[in-house]
């Protein structure tokens, strides 16, 4: 991988033969030196350290400064390895479609063609991939102008901290607030946008999320912005305008938060229409419209924890440009016996999807072939073939990439910069390892293990739930 750092970090040796003969190909991974990676087990245990090697024979070799010598873990009870400082993937072209597979894999790319046997597409890691059609679950077409502006956090770098720099700290993909303070960043928000993040808390908390603000390291009523006030069970929105003061635009209730301590928050901002929506766990809580028109003038956002005591954790933050009206990616699986094409006018066309290319979709519905221009389609869901019983594959791993994709494959080799394996969906795969933020093991069971260390580290609650 590019980014192969001057200070070699991880070495992997190839160990792959029927006789399990080690080839010992040890090379360097390209993640930034000095970062603290994290391995997590299915029982919630976790160890920071450094991945040195992965081999089919020896397992995962992990080193730490306080370990006399590196240890080899077999993969049977590994949940995942998180890599600090993973770089966002570089795409030659902006993706137009989100492709999801029945096994949980998902990629952002561009559709080339689909017929009754196969689907062909391009992605950032391969210009042309082909997969059997029956492994495909859905295609969701991205709104025009879709662009991921930020995905993280992976570090404090690039963020502005308020007067108390200790109020927020970064650890293992999570911003953690244990006191009153602010952290913000300029994302270059220009037009409409979507802001998504996971929010976790303990006790009674109060979090202000100013959006489209220029005050990134302070709470400032002089900056033109919108401020979401989120507490356990309630959200309200204020418009803040320099010289005009503050106007409360209304409150929404989130009773589900009373019985939880973790939710997924999504804020959608339609700038031309001055409309803002807040979703909790994909459910719309409240829609606001500023009748005075969109008055915020900043391009960043911030998190301001208002109380001392309760712990607030923000993770899986994703900020993306949005066209202001398309539904965001919806993973449309169909349980029915027919494929389904979803149109922009909200019509749905059931039938047998015969083909797709970059311009049209052909679906046989009620006995007739319908040809629909791709531009009229939001997404396509395909029928799920009958599941076949599977044997356990301890070396089937899933790589999660910074920038929104997750691909599983039978691990073959990691030579230091390039990870290779064989995907059951589309055959041989090769990845530049610097883009991998998480390598997941024991797919299925490890899904239940939080990828941000939600609670397992607490000595008083040493479980991951």
């Amino acid at each position: 991988m590019s980014g192969k750092s001057a200070k070699p970090k991880r070495r992997f040796c190839r160990f792959f033969s029927l006789a399990a003969v080690a080839l010992g190909l040890s090379q360097v991974l390209g993640h930034a030196a000095g970062k603290d990676d994290l391995v997590r087990f299915l029982d919630g245990s976790m160890l920071h350290g450094e991945l040195q090697q992965v081999s089919l024979g020896d397992g995962v070799r992990w080193s730490r400064a306080d370990l006399a010598k590196p240890v080899d873990f077999q993969p049977d009870n590994l949940a995942w390895i998180r890599f600090e400082g993973a770089r966002p993937v570089k795409r030659p072209t902006e993706p137009t479609v989100h492709i999801r597979f029945h096994n949980g894999d998902e990629v952002l790319g561009n559709l080339i063609a689909l017929d009754e046997q196969r689907v062909q597409f391009s992605t950032w890691f391969n210009e042309q991939l082909s997969a059997p059609r029956d492994v495909l679950q859905s295609l969701a077409f991205l709104s025009p102008g879709f662009r991921i502006l930020f995905e993280g956090p992976t570090t404090l770098t690039g963020w502005k901290l308020g007067r108390d720099p200790k109020a927020w700290k970064y650890s293992d993909g999570v911003f953690i607030s244990e006191g009153v303070g602010v952290i913000g960043r300029d994302f270059g928000l220009k037009d409409s946008s979507r802001i998504e993040f996971d929010l976790q808390w303990s006790g009674t908390f109060s979090l202000i999320v100013p959006v489209y603000t220029s005050a990134l390291d302070r709470f400032d009523y002089r900056s033109n912005s919108y401020m979401f006030y989120i507490s356990r069970g309630y959200v309200s929105l204020q418009r803040v305008q320099n010289g005009a003061g503050v106007r409360n635009l209304g409150q929404g209730q989130i009773p589900e938060m009373q019985s939880k301590n973790r939710v997924q928050v999504e804020i959608r901002v339609n700038k031309p229409k001055a409309e803002m929506e807040l979703y909790i766990d994909s459910k719309l809580v409240r829609k606001w419209r500023d009748t005075n028109g969109f008055s915020a003038t900043g391009t960043g956002m911030a998190f301001f924890s208002q109380l001392n005591g309760p712990i607030v954790r923000v993770s899986n933050l994703r900020v993306s440009a949005w066209d202001g009206h398309s539904d965001p990616i919806q993973i449309a699986a169909t349980d029915g016996a027919e494929d389904m094409v979803f149109l922009k006018n909200r019509d749905e066309v059931p039938g047998n999807l015969k083909s797709m290319n970059a311009e049209t979709v052909v679906i046989n519905s009620l006995g007739a072939d319908l040809t629909i221009p791709l531009e009229r389609i939001t997404r396509v869901a395909l029928t799920k073939p009958e599941a076949k019983p599977e044997t356990k594959r301890p070396w089937e791993v899933r790589a999660h990439f910074a920038g929104g994709a997750a691909v599983s494959f039978d691990f073959k080799q990691w030579d230091g910069s390039t990870l290779t394996g064989r995907s059951r969906n589309f055959g041989p795969v090769t990845f530049d390892s610097q883009y991998i933020r998480l390598l997941q093991f024991n797919l299925g069971t490890s899904q239940k293990t939080s990828d941000t260390n939600a609670g397992g580290a607490d000595q008083l609650w040493p479980w991951d739930d």
Binding site: M46, H48, L67, Q74, Q258, S259, N261, L460, W461, P462
Partner: protein
Amino acid sequence: MIDKIKNLPLGKEQGRGGSPSRPRLRSESPLGQVAAATATWCAALCGSLGVFKNSCGRLGQPSLPSPWRSFAVFIFAAVTAIGQAGENKSTLHFKNGDWLRGALAGYDPAVGVTWRHADATAPLQFNTGQLTGITLDGTAVGQLAAGNLCEVQLVNGDHFRGNLAGATAEHFLFDTWHAGRMQLLRSAVRKIAPLPKGLKTIFQGPESDDGWTHGKINNEAIGESGNWRYHNGGFHAKAAASIARDLGLPDSSHISFDLEWSGAMHLAFALYTDTLQPISLSTKENEPDFSGFYSIQVNSYSVNLLPVKKHTPLTYLGQATVPSFRKKTKSRLEFFANKAQRLIAVAIDGKVIRKWFDAKGFTGEGTGIRIVHQGRGAVRVSNLRVEEWDGRFKGPPTHPIGAKDDLVKLINNDRMQGRVNGIEGGKLNVTTVEGGFPVPLDRVKQIEPATSKTAADMPLEHRMRAHFSDGSRLTFKLNRWATDGVEAQSPSFGNATFKSGSIIRLEFQPPKK
């Protein structure tokens, strides 16, 4: 409230919610079933608890006396070799919050901790620089032969129980269940408090949640309810949870336990209850019939006592503020109860903070306890000991550190200053300026020897603190941990070898006190 509290600001809680249709009792372990554990000690202990219920779901009195302290010999049958019990259930804790399950395979100062992990092909060897501690699974409480049982406190805050066996010019001698005969440097011993003979220890643990009843909390205001979970000698809770057990509380009882918490803390302890399910206080009249009990409500800044009885208005008996809770994350709590005196008292970290006398009579009508976590923060309850109480409060030592003479305090408040020379035939030999006196040990309230502030000091880099499964604590330099014993050394007791299954937690480089 107690039991189920509305989510209101601290100090203004009112009970609410609760399901009138919920079952009164879950299936309880009948006598003997509790002793599912194979260990001899556990069977003996649990058998002594006599947990049973009658057809109404009320709890009865224990059917068997508690015999464990009367055994004439050391019995320590359940100490399983490390690496067998506790495989992958012990936990290694690191300074950065990392933790790793596994089993302690050994310790040597030269190589550090040797740790076994089921998925690792070879044992892991950690130096101790980044370790904060080890919690050990598969531990057991041993038993001690009848003798001159005393509570011993050292100048560094360590404490344990042992039979006072004698004294030499330099040492006090104690027989302990975890290390046999121990010689304690006289100047390192802060206090020796003889325990009244004949008082029964009713419960010591927990060793599991066997015999305990997990209660169902139905109160939306509290939030998501969950269960207490047993882990490494303690009960943990994060979401609102209730756990209860009929311990056969005697008319005069002493309940003590370690409480740890993170974040906000709000717990309610029901004493002398006959109901193993939580009671919603604001709707208590709609709850299935229950007999009166006391609710001791402990939160981050105070302790409150509330008698709870059906058809009787709820009136708190008064609150004791505990400012020290704000600066701590753990404390030793003690509850004292005496039916005849209509007394409930609470001590925190050895100091009685409040005594309540219930003018309307003793409300508690059952013999069980219930612990309800209100769902704020995470908590752990461990080293729970329930025993008969002789009605006397122990006092903190008052003899100045650095004093040259021993001080013997008698139960009639007399004092003798001089030197404790030994014990013979149940009598303490005390020499004062007026001569030598044999004092029956049962007349001694406590001995406060001549001490030196630095007698137990040891360098931080060597310091390790062991917490034993009976609640004892000792600080030492660990020389070796192996299946055949834990070899340790300290200025207080010299060299000692502890049974490896007796230690439930090890702290690395703990603070001095």
